[in-house]
């Protein structure tokens, strides 16, 4: 197996007295697609937010290529090579598509021409709408923009919080195709999904979260065949 790029040990996070994440440990290996699945309130988003530095954990450690991330500010974490595509797309509605992409590269000082070309080759639709305000895009296009914007920071690890949320099935398929393309280009992906079927089909490794702890882990396709997983997340009933 390849080397682990992100190591989380015994992470605990509380919000106003409620413990959302109760000591989870997980590894993300370089160049893989890793997914966290679980129902609402399982602590998936909180875990991602802690990695991105948006939430301060109680205890535990998050190591990215050996560097401790807890205590670093979000901009330092982006600089280190981790970027988060936040839940619900969250593009900047009153900025143009191009300006949104530029915001993704805010901390970079080098030339962006190649990166624009790369993002536009992944999402030709964005090139067409370069001068349009992001708020006028459709949901699918906004999600593409959010992913493209994150790629502009040249990350080594891209984290996505429910990229399929509120999108038509055909668009979801496109999004997952893009995720695989990005991954083939050498970027490690950490993915959160409610759509467990799509996530497990595409992931190399998956963790199942339940009320703040990790219940099981395994290869994506193996978990897809697991009966208990099928019951809990894929809506299959026992005959």
């Amino acid at each position: 197996m390849s080397e682990s790029i992100l190591e989380i040990k015994d992470l605990r996070v509380s919000y106003g007295g409620i413990e959302a994440v109760k000591g989870i440990s997980l590894d993300v290996h370089e160049g893989k697609i890793v997914t966290l699945i679980g129902s609402n309130g399982a602590g998936k988003s909180t875990t991602l937010k802690s990695i991105a530095g948006l939430v301060k954990p109680q205890s535990g450690s998050i190591k990215f290529k050996g560097q401790e991330l807890i205590g670093l500010s979000p901009d330092k974490i982006v600089k280190a090579g981790i970027v988060l595509v936040p839940e619900g797309r969250r593009v900047f509605p009153n900025l143009t598509v191009k300006e949104n992409l530029k915001m993704g590269a805010y901390l970079r000082k080098d030339d962006l021409t190649e990166d624009f070309e790369y993002v536009y080759s992944l999402f030709p639709r964005l090139k067409e709408r370069e001068w349009q305000l992001a708020g006028t895009l459709s949901g699918g296009e906004q999600q593409m923009l959010a992913v493209g914007r994150a790629l502009m920071s040249k990350p080594e690890l891209i984290m996505m919080d429910e990229p399929s949320l509120g999108l038509a099935p055909i668009v979801v398929k496109d999004i997952f195709e893009i995720i695989r393309t990005i991954n083939k280009a050498g970027i490690t992906v950490l993915l959160i999904e409610q759509n467990a079927f799509m996530a497990l089909q595409n992931a190399d490794w998956a963790y199942v979260l339940e009320t703040g702890t990790i219940k099981t882990e395994g290869e994506g396709l193996d978990l897809l065949d697991d009966e208990t997983i099928q019951e809990a997340y894929l809506g299959k009933t026992r005959e």
């Binding site: 500010s73 979000p74 970027v83 969250r90 900047f92 915001m103 914007r149 920071s153």
Partner: protein, 392 residues
């Protein structure tokens, strides 16, 4: 803005031309028609107000920080300017209630001592003194903004507005405090410093040959607004807009929220301080009691009427607003007769009633203001794009 790669778009050039025409027209008119006309009072005050409105727009419209401390920062700028420029020989007579001035330094007198105090040399030393004092006024406002910003910028929306409003009121009280009388002249007015009228060029006999007193405020305010426009179109400006649109996403993209909010707050306050200095030059006396919260509301109103997030909107609105309040609606305050019968309602204060109704109509029916978040240059660019399409 639409054609970033080409540098300056056609719309921007047209806008610049309009500003240039206004400047030339101001100079020509002031030297041909009665220089005491209300028109020039309106132009001077509106130029100052447009700068302050733009600084407020930078915070409210571009960074999404609802701040109402503008009058406070103007007060700092105005006082710093006045205290620094009152010539040393008249200082004691202005501070007579407190037994003379606390310190005897004046930038104008300082340069007069170096360059000379008569003729062209005197004029140049006056300009240098004024510029330095204006700059220091801005810097004082910026430093205070930094200190205030440390605790206050953690607050959001209405809470931030209340905190900044309170700060401005406290500042006004401090400047009226008798114990500081040696410096601030307590509740009494400061005067005797260079005003816009001092920029009129006189010949050796002391006769005015070229009036610039209305052009100078446009020039100063214009330069400051231009700097703010350049800032807004830079990558920092984009970061401000990103914070306004979505704080969480901006943070996830690696924008340091605290740092950028502080930067916007300090820059806005700096130019509000410069605007305060210009206001002092316009009013020719400085008194803390003029910088009330009502003044902040007036400026906020201009921003809303012009369109939150539009620089050109703020400028146009400030000229319209000041023209209405100082000039066009003045007749409402005077008793009016038709066929010898006195009309009811037309008495002192009726102007403000009509004014409030107009404002209510604007807020109810034109919620985005005159320009929305568009700029004048965008409008020209759009027209051109439509034309191009029609040609195809």
């Amino acid at each position: 803005m639409l054609n970033e790669k080409k540098g300056i778009s056609r719309g921007a050039i047209i806008t610049l031309m309009i500003v240039l025409v206004v400047c030339i027209l101001t100079i020509v008119l002031e030297n041909t028609i009665n220089p005491n006309s209300l028109l020039f009072t309106v132009i001077r005050k509106a130029a100052v107000y447009s700068l302050v409105a733009v600084t407020m727009n930078l915070l409210n419209g571009f960074t999404g920080l609802f701040s109402l401390g503008q009058a406070g920062f103007m007060l700092l700028g105005a006082y710093t300017y006045a205290i620094l420029t009152i010539p040393t020989d008249v200082r004691d007579s202005i501070y007579y209630l407190f037994g003379g001035a606390g310190f005897h330094f004046s930038t104008v007198s300082f340069f007069e001592g170096i360059i000379g105090d008569s003729g062209v040399a005197g004029f140049i030393s006056m300009i240098l003194g004024v510029l330095i004092a204006m700059l220091v006024g801005g810097i004082v406002a910026a430093i205070v903004a930094y200190l205030i910003g440390l605790p206050v910028l953690r607050l959001k929306s209405d809470y931030l507005a209340i905190a900044t409003l309170g700060f401005a009121e406290i500042l006004r009280a401090i400047f009226q405090w008798d114990k500081l009388g040696k410096v601030t002249n307590g509740a009494n007015a400061l005067r005797g410093y260079p005003t816009f009228a001092d920029f009129n060029i006189k010949n050796a006999q002391g006769i005015t040959v070229l009036r610039l007193s209305s052009f100078i405020p446009i020039l100063f305010a214009g330069i400051c607004i231009l700097i703010i426009i350049l800032l807004i179109n830079s990558s920092y400006g984009r970061a401000f807009k990103a914070i306004r649109d979505d704080e969480v996403a901006a943070e996830a993209m690696g924008i340091n929220l605290a740092k950028h909010k502080m930067m916007s707050f300090i820059i806005s306050s700096f130019f509000a301080g410069v605007g305060g200095a210009l206001f002092a030059m316009f009013a020719s006396t400085v008194q803390a009691k003029t910088f009330t919260s009502a003044m902040t509301y007036e400026i906020f109103l201009i921003v809303v009427i012009g369109g939150i997030g539009s620089i050109s909107g703020s400028c146009i609105a400030s000229f319209l607003y000041i023209a209405c309040s100082e000039w066009w609606l003045r007749f409402l305050d005077n008793t009016q007769y038709i066929n010898g019968n006195q009309l009811p309602l037309f008495k002192n204060g009726f102007r403000m009633v009509v004014f409030s109704v107009v404002i209510m109509i604007i807020v109810l029916f034109f919620r985005t203001g005159m320009m929305g978040d568009k700029e004048l240059s965008d409008l020209f660019n759009k027209k051109r794009r439509k034309k191009v399409k029609a040609d195809e």
